[in-house]
């Protein structure tokens, strides 16, 4: 019996079981891939509670897992970055520039200004999503990526403080170990910031178990700033996590997805013995927010590739 370990992306989410249900329904929608019918078990690595005090309200729409919906429900998140370290400041400013957002410190704004006009502004303007929502989303991405990669100590407001990377890595490794106990192919399906976590664990955590396949969806792993922080384990010529991914890595993107859009292709950045082996797949989404996982999971090509990874 095959198993899928899902890991979600940025922004607040409904509770874990509801989120898993939403992903499964999106995947099965319209005569798609119904994992339950195929006898495939699944679990969701849930980490929204590390960043948010309470789960997002359940919204009874087909896009209830949509970050654009979640972000509209929340106040604009603070990009609460401790910029005491010059290297960290430069990193944050550089990434913020690529994501085309201002960040809330004078120093950082100056640093962004020094980089000149946003290189992705033109692309983003083609997406008819209100700019203030887009900006919030990019801020959320910036914060999450930063807090994870710099292992920031963070209290989401419940009086519990997490070392963000340690906590999330622990949850991911536990889920991977549970999946490894199943008899069939075990595939990791990750989205957005979840792709960074999945890759980090499969490439850089020694006791992570092997999986049969990896799918990254709407991934920011193409950004240099993220790759820099994944060193020394990551190298361009040998970035593929071959020690722990025995089968294929399928990377799915939409060119108008602002998270993946800056550098959507990963094959040239995560090579195996200098060879391009990551299967980059352009899945055309629709609507104003192309990063939405429920749209990606409705994609015909994505489903076909996932069937292949699961050997269905």
């Amino acid at each position: 019996m095959a198993h899928v370990t899902f890991i979600h992306g940025i922004a607040n989410k409904p509770p874990q079981d509801q989120l898993l249900d939403l992903w499964l329904r999106s995947l099965a929608d319209g005569g798609g891939l119904d994992l339950g019918t195929e006898g495939v078990t699944s679990s969701m690595v849930y980490w929204a509670d590390v960043m948010y005090k309470d789960p997002a309200a359940e919204v009874e729409t087909e896009n209830a897992g949509d970050e654009a919906v979640a972000v509209q429900q929340d106040a604009a998140p603070e990009v609460n970055v401790d910029l005491g370290d010059a290297g960290e400041l430069a990193w944050t400013a550089s990434l913020a520039a690529k994501l085309a957002i201002p960040i809330a410190t004078d120093t950082a704004v100056e640093a962004v200004a020094d980089l000149g006009p946003s290189p992705v502004k033109e692309t983003l303007e083609r997406i008819p999503l209100p700019w203030f929502i887009k900006e919030r989303l990019m801020k959320v991405l910036l914060r999450d990526v930063h807090h994870y990669l710099f292992n920031v100590k963070y209290d989401p407001g419940r009086g519990t403080t997490y070392q963000v990377q340690d906590e999330i890595r622990g949850r991911m490794i536990k889920a991977l170990q549970e999946g490894a106990g199943k008899p069939g192919p075990h595939v990791v399906v990750s989205h957005s910031m979840g792709t960074v976590i999945a890759y980090d664990c499969l490439k850089r955590v020694a006791d992570a178990p092997k999986v049969a396949g990896l799918m990254t969806i709407g991934s920011p792993l193409g950004l240099d700033e993220i790759q820099d922080k994944l060193q020394p384990e990551w190298t361009r010529d040998n970035g593929f996590p071959f020690d722990r991914v025995s089968g294929g890595w399928v990377n799915v993107y939409d060119k108008l997805d602002p998270v993946a859009g800056f550098d959507p292709n990963l094959a040239n950045d995560y090579r195996k013995d200098k060879k391009n082996v990551v299967d980059d797949l352009n899945e055309q989404n629709y609507g104003s927010w192309r990063h939405d996982i429920s749209k990606y999971l409705r994609g015909e090509h994505l489903r076909e590739k996932l069937r292949g990874l699961l050997k269905l």
Partner: protein, 566 residues
């Protein structure tokens, strides 16, 4: 046993959930006995118990429990209504009318309950009219017309007392007035259906400006559009109605289907029934507990109309002005479910009826591509059925009463390419006794017509209280119908699959499909006391099928190919 109405409620709900009528009967008997011996029960709990019995269609039990509540004066208006409902659904119409008329008198000071009671009286007369007229023959026209008049009067008086509130009564008055016009019945002071429909739609628009409409309001809106002759909007409102999977369950959809066919007279052969009926049927089957029985003579037409309905609905959705907040509604879920339903109807083609020498239905079987069972059998189409339906083993025939293969006749009621043909067994290629895999693989003569390939599941679905399986067969006694039931998957091991069963007996040898219409098994048994699987203690109500991959494995081990070539 101690008296605990809450525990009884829970037990009855569990019995209803698992279709365990035997247990529900025992629990109901205990309840009645307790009430008769002076025990009491809260009205709210009583109502829930009655509701659980009603939703499973256990009207005899509903009547007994409701009657005991009434006799012990533990009833309220809702209990009385449920009592009347039980009487109506068992055809005890005069008794139901007495109950309702007394309820109308008793609720004179309670406008809401009074309106409900008068509505129910309207429902009784409506049913009397449509039953008499739809059955054909020579109904007593004077009496039928009087019943129609009474129904319209009952609904109309409630509606007119407060048109903004009693929309359900209003739409029924309009539907019956329209029906009277179609049937050429002159009503005294009959209302103008179009005027009522316009008023109802205006009310709904005003309500929707404040809050989302309830599902039943959407069904009412659809009927209002029918009254105005606006088929497109009726379709769109029904498409919105079926999106609601929470309030609109199989019971609701079945009621809507009845209203559209029995009162509005919609039929498959012309619009809007040609689209609306397959749409509602597909949604019915998609819901838990949904079951469809259709006439074999109509199956080909239904398949064709279902195929045509999907693009027609899509077109209507695309052409519709997007109302606010309807993005999800216009998500074309209905179109997808229609396509899925069509696939299920296609699967019905492979189902065969196995007849005994007297020409009576003896069991079910189904066509399968031989190569899907044993690769070397290639594209030859074979028939798979139970060994307890037909077997070459004399010991099995003696013990289980199976037919000798030479005595079996096979017909296909839903397969146009085999219409009117009778097939015999040319050779029994392989059999496994009923206490093992209960299967017989047959070559039939003349050779079976080629068929559209369908896939076999490699894995069984998860037992997650969500996954359903579908059994297509000939339930006993209804030789002219094909029943398509959905069943919750309960459990399985490496040989057997258990699923919860609203089915009757007599479907032995039916194919069992998963939600993607892939074949997962061969149906062979069922009962209220099936032994649980995987070493679990106890029994439960379940149907049982043989896992198709286990049959494939046995066929491989049995070297059927050598026999095949022998």
């Amino acid at each position: 046993m101690s008296w605990d109405p809450q525990a009884s409620l829970k037990a009855i709900e569990t019995a209803a959930e698992s279709f365990n009528q035997e247990e529900a009967e025992r629990l109901s008997k205990d309840l009645v006995s307790g009430l008769e011996h002076g025990e009491t029960i809260e009205a709210a709990t009583a109502r829930k118990i009655l509701g659980a019995l009603r939703r499973k269609g256990w009207f005899v039990l509903l009547e007994k429990v409701a009657e005991a509540l009434c006799f012990t004066e533990q009833d309220d208006a809702q209990v009385r209504r449920q009592y009347a409902q039980a009487l109506i659904d068992q055809g005890k119409i005069p008794a139901a009318i007495y109950v309702i008329e007394s309820l109308i008198t008793r609720t004179a000071d309670d406008p809401a309950e009074n309106a409900e009671a008068r509505g129910l009286l309207g429902r009784i007369y409506k049913q009397l009219y449509v039953n008499a007229v739809n059955a054909g023959g020579s109904p007593n026209l004077a009496l039928s017309h009087l019943n129609l008049q009474r129904a319209v009067d009952a609904y109309l008086s409630v509606y007119r007392s407060d048109p903004a509130t009693h929309l359900w009564h209003g739409i029924n008055a309009a539907a019956l007035a329209a029906r009277a016009a179609r049937d050429g019945v002159a009503l005294n002071n009959g209302p103008d259906p179009a005027a009522i429909a316009r008023d109802i739609l205006a009310t709904l628009a005003a309500q929707e400006a404040k809050a989302p409409l309830y599902a039943w309001d959407l069904a009412t809106g659809a009927e209002a559009h029918l009254a105005l002759g606006d088929a497109t909007n009726a379709l769109l409102w029904i498409a919105r109605y079926v999106q609601d999977k929470k309030d609109v369950d199989a019971f609701e959809i079945a009621s809507t289907l009845r209203q559209l066919t029995e009162v509005w007279g919609l039929t498959l052969d012309k619009p809007p029934g040609a689209i609306l009926l397959p749409l509602l049927q597909s949604q019915l089957l998609d819901r838990r507990g949904g079951s469809i029985v259709f006439d074999r003579d109509k199956l080909a037409e239904l398949r064709q109309k279902t195929a045509e309905a999907a693009p027609a609905l899509e077109k209507a959705i695309d052409a519709a002005p997007p109302p606010k907040n309807y993005e999800k509604v216009l998500g074309k879920e209905g179109v997808v479910t229609l396509s899925w339903y069509k696939l299920g109807l296609d699967r019905a083609k492979v189902v065969a009826k196995v007849l005994n020498p007297a020409g009576d239905g003896f069991g079910t079987g189904f066509l399968i591509r031989g190569g899907d069972l044993v690769p070397a059998l290639g594209d030859e189409i074979l028939l798979l059925t139970n060994a307890h339906v037909t077997s070459s083993d004399p010991a099995v025939r003696t013990k289980y009463g199976s037919l000798d293969p030479d005595d079996a006749t096979i017909i296909f009621e839903a397969f146009e390419a085999a219409a009117g043909q009778e097939f015999k067994v040319k050779k029994l290629l392989w059999t496994s006794p009923p206490d093992e895999l209960d299967a017989s693989l047959l070559r039939i003569d003349p050779p079976a017509p080629s068929l559209q390939a369908y896939s076999l599941a490699k894995n069984l679905p998860l037992v997650d209280n969500i996954q359903k399986v579908y059994v297509i067969g000939h339930p006993g006694g209804r030789t002219l119908s094909i029943s398509l039931n959905d069943n919750l998957l309960l459990d399985y091991d490496d040989r057997l699959v258990h699923y919860r069963a609203p089915t009757e007996g007599g479907s032995s040898g039916s194919p069992v499909f998963n939600q993607s219409w892939q074949l997962i098994g061969l149906h062979h048994a069922g009962g209220t006391s099936m032994q649980r699987l995987n070493g679990k203690e106890g029994t439960y109500a379940a149907n049982e099928g043989i896992w198709i991959q286990r049959i494939i494995k046995a066929l491989g081990e049995a070297e059927v190919v050598e026999q095949h070539h022998a």
